[in-house]
Symmetry: C2
Subunit: 396 residues, 2 copies
């Protein structure tokens, strides 16, 4: 009844759904406040107040036909100009509205890019650990995912292996920094070297390779860390952004693609992104939210909320003898499993009502992801359980 491709996906997704259901059942059994669900990247910080007042203001003062109507598939001129201007102020670029496509979040944007550029059998390279959904986005268009094994020292991209795995079928490379699931920010030096390798390989194979940078966590950086602007490191870069985390609007599905005019085949690519937006059924990013972003393009979320969670969690876990990188950004902590099979570790944690996601979901077994976009009470409340878990595992 459903397609063959879908059968495996439905089976796989039922594992995640089972975990979600388990969390709900645990909350019912033990009380919401006694369950520490670190499994989902759903921000616990409300959207900035300016966002909600902008919605009300826009609805009151905009002609309804214009407010809710169709526009160009790539979005309204106003918001696209506002995004371009904001990027220009922040990154010294010289974009205008012709460089911006409004998208249904970053997930929508990535699908639009792959629909626009991938031929069946084309290869897309990603650096483990990475968000497992990339595999599905690439498979949607019959692309082939090529995985670079993780550097579990620093969790920067493994560039030696990367260089070896680029072929004449490589169409795209994905990077995601600050990274889900590690919280690592890719350094400017790493990105520059990555760009140099790509330039060299483009010449060698006489083809265009687009670097797709997935940036929903751009604004979430701690300790004054700077998130490098990837197009500065490589000309053929497409930036995919989402307001899901930076403005806590994940359910509203609003983001953009920024495409520098200097990329190969700029005009053709922009046309293809517009067509892909239309034919995949997005048609356009939600209209009201486009007006909201135009007004709130420089609004910021409460990064200190996540930073406090990070600090408390990192200090607690390392004190108990667990091992992990200190996250530099995003709202994830990637913990080394004290036992070989991290799925077993995830199971053990459930005894203490702690829910985490196995690293194999991110192509990096032996680790678990803790999403600390939860309330501070959840972070604090989980620590006694983590301490008992550490004791059980002989870490303390």
């Amino acid at each position: 009844m459903i397609s063959k491709k879908m059968e495996g996906l439905v089976k796989g997704s039922s594992v995640i759904r089972a975990m979600f259901e388990e969390g709900r059942q645990m909350a019912e059994k033990y009380g919401e406040e006694n369950v520490f669900d670190f499994s989902l990247g759903n921000p616990n910080v409300p959207a900035p107040a300016d966002v909600n007042s902008a919605i009300i203001d826009i609805v009151k003062n905009t002609d309804s036909v214009r407010l809710h109507g169709y526009m160009s598939n790539i979005g309204h001129d106003g918001v696209r100009s506002a995004v371009a201007d904001s990027l220009n102020r922040r990154f010294g670029t010289s974009y205008d509205k012709s460089n911006i496509v409004m998208t249904v979040g970053a997930a929508g944007g990535l699908n639009v890019v792959f629909r626009a550029v991938l031929n069946p059998g084309d290869e897309v390279i990603a650096f483990a650990p990475y968000f497992g959904e990339y595999n599905n986005y690439v498979a949607n268009y019959d692309g082939k995912m090529v995985i670079i094994t993780p550097d579990t020292e620093m969790f920067q991209p493994n560039l030696a292996e990367f260089e070896r795995k680029i072929t004449d079928k490589t169409a795209c490379v994905i990077v995601n920094s600050p990274n889900n699931p590690t919280g690592v920010i890719y350094s400017k030096d790493t990105l520059d070297r990555l760009g140099e390798i790509l330039e060299k390989k483009q010449k060698e194979y006489n083809r265009t390779i687009y670097l797709v940078t997935d940036e929903p966590y751009r604004e979430l950086a701690y300790d004054g860390a700077v998130v490098p602007w990837v197009p500065d490191s490589y000309r053929n870069t497409i930036v995919g952004y989402s307001y899901s985390k930076s403005l806590s609007l994940p359910g509203e599905r609003i983001g953009y693609l920024a495409v520098p005019s200097s990329v190969d085949g700029f005009a053709e690519l922009m046309s293809a992104l517009g067509v892909a937006t239309r034919i995949l059924g997005f048609v356009n990013a939600p209209s009201l939210m486009q007006f909201v972003i135009e007004k709130c393009v420089d609004c910021v979320t409460d990064v200190s909320f996540y930073e406090r969670n990070r600090n408390t969690l990192y200090e607690g876990l390392t004190k108990f003898g667990f091992s992990c990188m200190k996250p530099e950004g995003a709202f994830y902590l990637f913990l080394k499993s004290p036992i070989d099979d991290e799925k077993e570790f995830v199971s053990m944690a459930k005894k203490y009502n702690i829910l985490m996601v196995p690293g194999s979901t991110f192509m990096c077994p032996g680790y678990v992801r803790i999403a600390y976009c939860v309330s501070y009470e959840t972070v604090k409340g989980s620590l006694p359980g983590f301490e008992k878990l550490a004791g059980e595992l002989g870490l303390i």
Copy 2:
């Protein structure tokens, strides 16, 4: 730089874009009020006032994290229950939330269905004339479109040819009533016979064939016409709905799929629809709009606005000697081109600043589509031009 599949699509779309640009240039040259642009299905009726007050009320009174956050990929429980209850009241069904998937408009919903059920090479049957985008939606998943030639007498589906063209590769059939571009409502008798043919062929080929009914125009019916509820005519029906036209929210991208529990493989299909929603990058239908639909599920648009346009246009055009069916619903009129080449007719009309879409876009050359979801002034203002055009063609 872009995929081979995309190259043709970009070329094709540039024709439509050229028309759009031409309209804008004409408006600049002659003044907006002197250009009669009947090319787009963008409602000129504002959203019901209740919709905008619901938005404000919801934003003021809903917790922001819940309002804008992620939910299940198939949508919030509340709106899905509200949609199910509304359908039960109107059509005597017995749905609950488990039968409803919230979607990014009908275009998003159709993509989700095809992603969920099509294997490469599977056939999808559609009855000409039909919305040309179906071809792209099916091609996205390597399905093969099978076109039933139009019955240009009554514009009901040609069921004899339909029966002949069903094969063991037929996975889906699409119907769209009230129809874009003809404005015809498929009769209960036609749908019942269509359902009987499908039941017979399912047995013959021992496979499931889903009937996908695309219903954005369901609420737009004139002269008291009843739009039959398609699942009453065939068990394996999936209903795709959009609030784009019924609540004038095309830019907001909100609709649903309704799947009766009695369809083959119901549980598996619902899981697949959820997974497809996620992996295509929709993730979920826009959250705020889901809350709005929950409140406004029984709101109605001003059908009398479109009915007045229809009456004035139909009376004018037939008086001038043009030939067409009187639209029973939707907001399109499908005019027979007085000359063989309808593209030439479209060109001639431009001299009078009248913009229409050639029927070949809808797999039905020899006709043109007039979208009368424009202001009444545009309809009235176009008539002298149509009269001159009729004179030029010797119709009067």
